[in-house]
Symmetry: C2
Subunit: 630 residues, 2 copies
């Protein structure tokens, strides 16, 4: 572990002004939030708060995780209001908040599913029923609402629910010794503690995390109390909820991917609050397992549909990849927290990958259609949808996109670390001075970044610059003079300590050639295949750009690549072109087996960024391209 803990510079202090993220944020603000709201309304998710569902009624039965969809939307809407005030959206937020609060019980309890569908079953199935998970999202929404509006009523209402949970769960006699089956509340409670200063929320988060997986297993006890045999658990293993072992004993990434990411994020927050090296050690071990064995090139995670999660080492199928959008979002949360605990570029590399690829593929360029699963190959039948029956991903994107700024920097008393390069202006207080950090860049299309430090007066601090893992060659200039940045490298960051003068400029040229990427030999799915990357972006072949079927394309190992910014393609992207090969199908005929391979014919190849696929006519897509064999 390196130097003292860091905190993010809040997104509220950062103005993103770039040509890449700003349009994504605008699409979310102008299309995405409204599209998801309409779905919340039309599917009955908002109506559920009227508590007028009865068995046999025409209304759909309020589902056990519906609150979380509403809460994530609300969090996203409030985040958007902070940077982009909007009266209509504010009115909608007010109305949703009123509707939610109207469904709260006198004791603070708030979950329409249990209130109207299973009123006698409160807190009886934490393992499967998402009750505490929903509470967590309500808390996050309430904090965002308080920040956006400065009005306390929603936060106060949700705190009454948090307090009820705090009374209900804990080590005391008469308390339930349980913890969430779908983690999320833990990190929400720590956020609530940070927002309110109330220690009891931190203590409860700590209790949930410490208690998790302790024998005798709570979910078994709870199952028996329901009259069930714990052996009949549908998921078959408590690894599904990462409760197979106490958290400090966990060394392997297992189970449901989103659950895992939210747990590890909460563990990182708790480690920061408690300064607990045992938690950090466990997180570092888990991180290593993930990134060495179980991570898609896109930053997607969790290959299997069966458990929406992890399987065995190197099991990374492309077409069948589950790689849920929420899991990539969860990985961004975890990675950003690791950067605050343990500044090291390997966390920033993964965070950047997940942001630009596995998360961003989850939303259409129009902002209103969403992937749940993010495969790395498709026959052309996988498309973004307006919503899903289990629709966690769309509102998760709604709440992530407005706060992208929060992942750019972290700061402690005398250091500012830059993790992401996004054209923006940030205002931050360090050493009791408010300074402005300005980034000018065309990133991710170009590797040139100009970072200007403006302080009212000269100020000594350390500016750290993430040296991206994908970058082999770089040049760094300080006020126009090249410096030997290799001498300043610290855990993958260029660390510049000096007395900064107002207007000092750091200019960095991250060389951004096309790179051919290979997977570990044990990743069976990628034997004989190569992927193309440029900067943080993973590229793919999509049928719309090719002259032959994508599955027939073979990439010569010694291809020469050209890149070109195409302003009219997919809202502006850099495409990659080269001469490639295709199979001569005509020559093959109809036979199933032959003793001569098909000839290879020359064709042009064009690759586009993976995040932007499936925004045109449907067709085949592949990230991993077979190499040409001669």
């Amino acid at each position: 572990m390196d130097s003292p803990q860091r905190k993010p510079i809040p997104f509220t202090q950062i103005q993103i002004r770039d040509a890449f993220w700003a349009p994504r944020q605008a699409a979310n603000r102008e299309q995405g939030l409204d599209a998801v709201y309409q779905q919340l309304e039309s599917t009955g998710r908002l109506k559920a708060y009227d508590l007028d569902w009865t068995p046999g009624s025409d209304q759909p039965e309020p589902h056990v995780f519906w609150d979380s969809d509403v809460a994530k939307w609300l969090e996203g809407a409030c985040a958007s209001l902070i940077t982009h005030p909007d009266d209509a959206l504010r009115a909608r937020v007010d109305q949703v908040v009123s509707r939610i609060l109207s469904a709260q019980g006198k004791d603070g309890y708030l979950n329409p599913h249990f209130t109207v569908v299973e009123p006698k079953a409160l807190w009886t199935n934490l393992r499967d029923k998402h009750e505490l998970y929903c509470a967590g999202h309500l808390i996050e929404a309430a904090i965002a609402h308080h920040r956006a509006t400065d009005e306390p009523h929603f936060l106060n209402g949700i705190r009454r629910y948090a307090d009820l949970i705090d009374h209900t769960f804990g080590p005391g006699e008469g308390q339930r010794h349980g913890y969430p089956g779908h983690q999320e509340l833990e990190l929400a409670l720590i956020k609530l503690y940070r927002h309110t200063g109330e220690n009891r929320y931190l203590d409860l988060a700590r209790y949930f995390i410490d208690e998790r997986g302790q024998p005798p297993h709570f979910f078994d006890i709870e199952a028996r109390q329901r009259g069930e045999n714990p052996a009949d658990y549908w998921a078959k293993t408590h690894a599904y909820t990462q409760s197979h072992l106490p958290v400090r004993e966990q060394q392997e990434i297992v189970g449901h991917a989103v659950r895992g990411m939210y747990l590890y994020s909460a563990m990182a927050d708790l480690a920061a609050e408690l300064n607990d090296p045992t938690l950090v050690k466990s997180l570092q071990t888990l991180w290593k397992d993930l990134t060495n064995h179980k991570l898609y090139l896109t930053g997607g995670i969790g290959p299997s549909q069966a458990n929406e999660g992890f399987t065995t080492r190197y099991d990374l199928p492309n077409r069948e990849a589950y790689a849920e959008t929420c899991a990539a979002i969860g990985l961004i949360f975890w990675a950003s927290r690791m950067l605050h605990l343990d500044l090291d570029s390997r966390y920033a590399d993964v965070m950047e990958h997940a942001l630009y690829n596995g998360m961003l593929s989850g939303v259409s360029l129009s902002g209103d259609r969403f992937f749940y699963e993010n495969p790395l190959a498709s026959d052309g039948c996988h498309h973004r949808q307006p919503f899903y029956a289990c629709s966690c991903c769309p509102p998760n994107l709604n709440r992530l996109l407005p706060v992208i700024g929060e992942f750019i920097y972290s700061i402690n008393k005398d250091e500012i670390a830059t993790h992401l390069y996004i054209q923006s202006e940030a205002k931050v207080e360090i050493k009791e001075q408010e300074i402005t950090l300005t980034q000018e860049t065309d990133y991710p299309w170009d590797g040139l970044v100009c970072l200007t430090v403006n302080s009212p007066s000269p100020l000594t601090f350390t500016l750290l610059l993430h040296h991206p893992g994908w970058c082999g060659e770089a040049r760094v200039y300080l006020n126009g003079s090249q410096i030997d940045f290799q001498k300043h490298l610290r855990h993958g960051y260029v660390a510049l300590t000096q007395e900064w003068q107002p207007g000092d400029e750091v200019r960095i040229q991250w060389a951004m050639p096309v790179s051919q990427v290979y997977a570990h030999p044990d990743v069976r799915a990628n034997t004989g295949r190569v992927a193309l990357m440029r900067g943080p972006l993973v590229y793919c072949l999509e049928a719309a750009d090719q002259t032959v079927p994508v599955r027939d394309i073979r990439l010569p190992r010694r291809a020469t690549f050209e890149t070109r910014y195409e302003p009219d393609l997919l809202q502006g992207v850099v495409s990659i072109r080269c001469q490639a090969k295709t199979l001569n199908r005509k020559q093959w005929g109809g036979m199933l087996y032959r003793d001569t391979p098909p000839d290879l014919l020359d064709i042009p190849l064009k690759a586009i960024p993976y995040y932007a696929w499936d925004n045109r006519q449907p067709g085949e897509m592949r990230v991993w391209i077979p190499e040409a064999i001669f």
Copy 2:
């Protein structure tokens, strides 16, 4: 369709004397039959005929398909007795026959499961319960028993059962208008018709085949009669039993593979008996779909475990291949029947492939351990077992191996076609003369075949010789003089018409180089991969022969192969060796992704015939080898 229908030369008239099949037959005779018998006894399959099982008893409940296991063993034992009399085996056969007959009802009914477990449910679930399937196997066993012993009592007993079925099923009022859910009885009835001359068995087979898939669907009617909703059918589609359409309308290979093969075999038999071109046309269409889209290189079929059968075109995964041994056996049955209907080398090619690879891999060299599934790649955890809970494959091998001879030739009034090259002596009557056909060859290890025709006096007929599809170059000599065999080719057979003199010799040299085989570009599993074949044998890499992990081996496209007969290896095989490449793992390190591929290092490679894998220490195996990329 070519010339008049053919019949096999029965295995009873052929002595196999080669170094390849004779040891396999001996292992079956000396180990396999006893091993399976012991399992029939110890698992309760024989005890079931005592009809003393009661609900709650310690005995295992007689299973719905147990009779078929016993019957297939019995058929194999009887076939073996014909060519290799054996008093001990004969005594065992007598005892099993008595035991079976003791369980027969007064009306002829014979199925211990229904008699003791579901006595009220006779004929109520043809779709799922294997009742008619078991009857078919009993019929085949009874015919073999009659041939082996000349004693009529077992055949007579089973004919009483066949007659009961004939009374029960048919188009008449008061008859059930059904057909087998697991096909097999159809072909058994035609065999019984041929053996006894009784037309009613042929008529019943015809009824079952013609009725199959006619609307309204019998399995739906039957389900409703059981009080079930047909829509709740577990297999979801009648394609599972190839009853989704009337058989003459079926154009795609679908459903459960063994069911399909037995149906198509019966359709071919019926087409031959009725001279029905509509059936032949349907079979030719189905054959084309199978061999162009759904056939493993090994002759294995049915890639999916879920339905034990077929999926979509080109879906031929290697590691996950189901490729049930029984399905390869069924394919041999079907292919041999197509040769009798429509002499064409494409049927003989597939039959040979399935015999030497996908079927033969099903049994250990020791003869007493069996594969149910025959994958084309393994991590080293897939091994032959003595038996299975669902153990159709071991006794199916028991009954196939003794009758291999029957697949060598077929004959009609003036033509003898040779499909397989196996050192052997066959006696056959043609044009009212008994002639002897002698093959001398080391096939499949060497392509030289000497076929001698011995007739008492000169005799004019046509001798047809299968030109194997794998063979690019051949030389054919008639009594020492080379002939231009290309002029004599007819549907892939060398057709020699002449007045044969006693002792005339045809010598053929089928060139047998190692060939590199490629799969159709749409077989995703084999992108960038190559398989090695020599003659009819598919080869594989097994860990025991390699110096590096099998998964790391890469085959250069321009490899130079050496072959070597190794008498002490796997009971004597020709191995294939070449210089190949392996990944330099040391250089890779622990990273999941890198921008440079691993170096390739030289290593020796040694391949063995696929059928012989898993007869040594466990380890990785692969048929399809990634090609080296430079």
